[in-house]
Amino acid sequence: MLIEQMMNRHVVTIQPTNTIAHAAKLMRDHKVRHLIVTNPARQVVGIVGQFEMSGATSVFHPESESADFKNPVSSIMRQDVTTAHPYDFFEDAAALFYEYRLTCLPIVEQGKLVGVLTETDLLRYFVQLTGALEPSSQIELLVENTTGTLEKVTRLLAKTNVNIINVFVHPTPDPYKRIISFRVQTMNPLRIIERLKREGYDVLGPEMSQ
C-alpha cells in the first residue's frame, strides 16, 4: 500500500504570518489537532500542533493572553518537520511515526504539500487490515511453526467454499508454535471447525476456564 492511496488530500493549512488566534480558530472549526504551515508556494515551512498552541500563552501571565494571541504563527511553529512522499510505502510511514513519535506527517511531492497522514489514518488502516469491520467469524488454530502449514489449512478452507477476509499469524510464547487467525465470511463456522478438527487441527475458541 502506498501513502498516496490512504493519505488525506484535504489539508488544513495556515500562513506563517497569520495570528495564533487564527490558528486556534482553524483547529476548532475543522476539528483537527495540527495545522501545516505553508508559504505562498505551498512549501511546508512548519507545523503547529496542540503542544505548540499550549506554549503560546503563559498561565502565569493571563493578562497578556490577548496580546500573545496576536503573535504570528511563525513564533511558535516547529520548523524541523518530518515529511514523506506519496510513493512511500505505508509500512515506512508507520515506522517514521514510531521512530520519531509523530502524530502527523505532511506528504510532499516536488517540494509542494499534497496531503497529510495522521495517527488516526494509520490506525484506521490497521483496523481495516484486521478485517474487523467486515461481517465475519474468527477461527484460530494453534499450529506447528513449519513450512506449508498455512497452505494446508487454506486448501481445506477453500474446499468448504468460504471466503477468507483476512489472515494473521501471531507468535506464541513457544517459538515452535504459531496461532493462525482467520476472519471468514460466514455466520456458521461450525461445519468448518468440525472439518478442521477432523483433520487433527487444534482449533481455539472461547475458554470456559482460564
Binding site: P135, S137, N161, M208
Partner: protein, 389 residues
C-alpha cells in the same frame, strides 16, 4: 387492546435449504405452541403482505434489489452475486429468494405501521428480525433488512422516533449501520463479543456518527454469560436508553440464540432469560412509550427445544401475561416429536442441572457490568450517574 400476531404460511418461501440453520419451521413451531397452549387463536394470525420494491428501496440500493430479483430468476452472474453477498454458504440463492425476503419485510412494515398509526398498541412479527441485511449486501442469513425498512417507513409516514433493541447473540450490525448517522432512530444491541463470533463488530466504542453520535449503543458480553448477568445488563442499559432517547415506539429483535443449547454461539443463558426479556420490554414500553411495542423474531438455531418456547414467551410479554409456566401441551409434543432429532421439552422452564458450571462466572459478570456502564456513561445525567456509584 390485543396485539397483532403476524404470521402466515406464505413465509415458508424464505427457506434456503433443508440443512440451513435459518429455517421457517421455527415460525410454525412457535405459532402451533401458542395455539396448543390456548394463548392464540389460529384465526388471529395475519398473513404478511409482500413489501413493494419502493418500500425496500427506503434502505436498500435499487441495483441490489434488482440483483436479488435476477438471482431468483437464475439470471445473476457469479461475479455479480459475489459482489452482493449472494450465492454464499450463508445466503445461497433459491427461486423464491426475492419474494420470500420481501414477504418478511412486508410483515414487519405492517406490524410497525399498525402501531405507529395508532390502530394498535402492540404487534409481533415472529418471522422478522433479519438484522444483518446491509444496504447493498446479503449477510449472515439475511437478504433484506425488515426492521430497517419498517423503521424507515414509519419515520417517513409518521415521523415516529424509534428505539430498536436487539438481544440476538449476534451484533445487530445491519440495522446499526443503516441508521448510524441518524439521531431519530436509536439502536441498542446486546450480544456476544465479536472476539470469535460473527459479525465481529458491536464494540462498546461504536456509538454513532455525526448527528447520530450517541444513538447507537452496544453491550458486547463475554462468552458463557448466564441469565443473571445478561438480564441485569439488558434491563439497565435498556432503561438508560429510554431515559436518554425518549422514544415514541420500541422495536425489539428477539433472537433466541443466546441460549446454552444454541449451536452457533457461546453464551450460556437458560430459558429464564427469554421469559424475562419480553416482560422487561413490556414494562419499559408501558413506562416510556405508552405501551407501544413491536416485537420481532431473529436468530435461534436450536429449533425445537429452545426457539418455540423463547418466542412464545414474547407473546406473554406483549399481552402482559406472566411468563408461561408448567407443562408444555402434550398435543404439541405429539405433533412435532417425529420431526425433531432430540426429545422435545415437556416443561416451559429449563431444568437447571442440565447446564454446566461456569468456573469464570464472577469475572464474566464483573466484566459485563463494566462494559454495560461504559455503553451509556457519556449520555446519562449527573443524577443518574450517582445510581451507579
Amino acid at each position: 387492546m390485543r396485539p397483532a400476531y403476524i404470521f402466515g404460511e406464505n413465509e415458508n418461501s424464505y427457506r434456503f435449504h433443508a440443512d440451513h440453520p435459518f429455517n421457517p419451521v421455527r415460525l410454525e413451531l412457535t405459532t402451533s405452541l401458542l395455539i396448543a397452549s390456548g394463548k392464540l387463536q389460529a384465526s388471529e394470525c395475519i398473513a404478511p403482505p409482500l413489501a413493494s420494491v419502493e418500500s425496500l428501496a427506503l434502505v436498500h440500493d435499487l441495483d441490489y434489489i434488482e440483483a436479488v430479483q435476477a438471482a431468483a430468476a437464475g439470471e445473476l452472474s457469479t461475479l455479480k452475486a459475489n459482489k452482493f453477498g449472494l450465492g454464499t454458504e450463508d445466503t445461497p440463492i433459491f427461486p423464491t429468494i426475492h419474494e420470500g425476503a420481501a414477504r418478511l419485510v412486508g410483515g414487519t412494515v405492517h406490524a410497525l405501521d399498525l402501531v405507529a398509526s395508532g390502530k394498535l398498541e402492540r404487534a409481533f412479527h415472529v418471522g422478522g428480525g433479519l438484522h444483518h441485511g446491509m444496504r447493498r449486501k446479503a449477510s449472515g442469513f439475511c437478504v433484506y433488512n425488515d426492521a430497517a425498512v419498517a423503521i424507515a417507513h414509519v419515520r417517513k409516514a409518521y415521523g415516529s422516533r424509534v428505539l430498536y433493541v436487539d438481544t440476538d447473540a449476534h451484533h445487530g450490525d445491519g440495522v446499526q449501520w443503516l441508521f448510524y448517522d441518524d439521531d431519530d432512530v436509536m439502536t441498542l444491541s446486546i450480544h456476544e463479543t465479536g472476539r470469535y463470533l460473527f459479525p465481529g463488530t458491536g464494540a462498546v466504542t461504536e456509538r454513532g456518527n455525526g448527528n447520530g453520535y450517541g444513538y447507537s449503543w452496544n453491550v458486547p458480553v463475554d462468552a458463557f454469560t448466564q441469565d443473571e448477568s445478561f438480564l441485569r445488563c439488558y434491563e439497565t442499559v435498556f432503561r438508560e436508553a429510554c431515559e436518554w432517547f425518549k422514544p415514541d415506539i420500541i422495536v425489539t429483535q428477539n433472537g433466541a440464540d443466546a441460549h446454552a443449547f444454541d449451536p452457533l454461539t457461546h453464551l450460556a443463558s437458560t430459558i429464564r432469560t427469554f421469559e424475562q426479556i419480553p416482560q422487561i420490554a413490556s414494562r419499559l414500553a408501558d413506562e416510556y412509550t405508552e405501551g407501544r411495542l413491536v416485537a420481532l423474531g431473529g436468530g435461534g438455531y436450536d429449533w425445537y427445544r429452545t426457539v418455540p418456547r423463547a418466542w412464545a414467551q414474547v407473546w406473554a410479554g406483549l399481552t402482559r401475561e406472566a411468563p408461561y409456566s408448567g407443562d408444555i401441551p402434550p398435543e404439541w409434543i405429539e405433533q412435532w416429536q417425529d420431526k425433531a432429532d432430540l426429545a422435545l421439552p415437556t416443561r416451559w422452564d429449563d431444568h437447571p442441572y442440565t447446564f454446566q458450571h461456569i468456573p469464570r462466572r464472577q469475572q464474566i459478570e464483573e466484566k459485563n457490568w463494566e462494559v454495560t456502564k461504559r455503553a451509556f456513561w457519556p449520555f446519562i445525567s449527573h443524577d443518574r450517574k450517582s445510581l451507579y456509584v
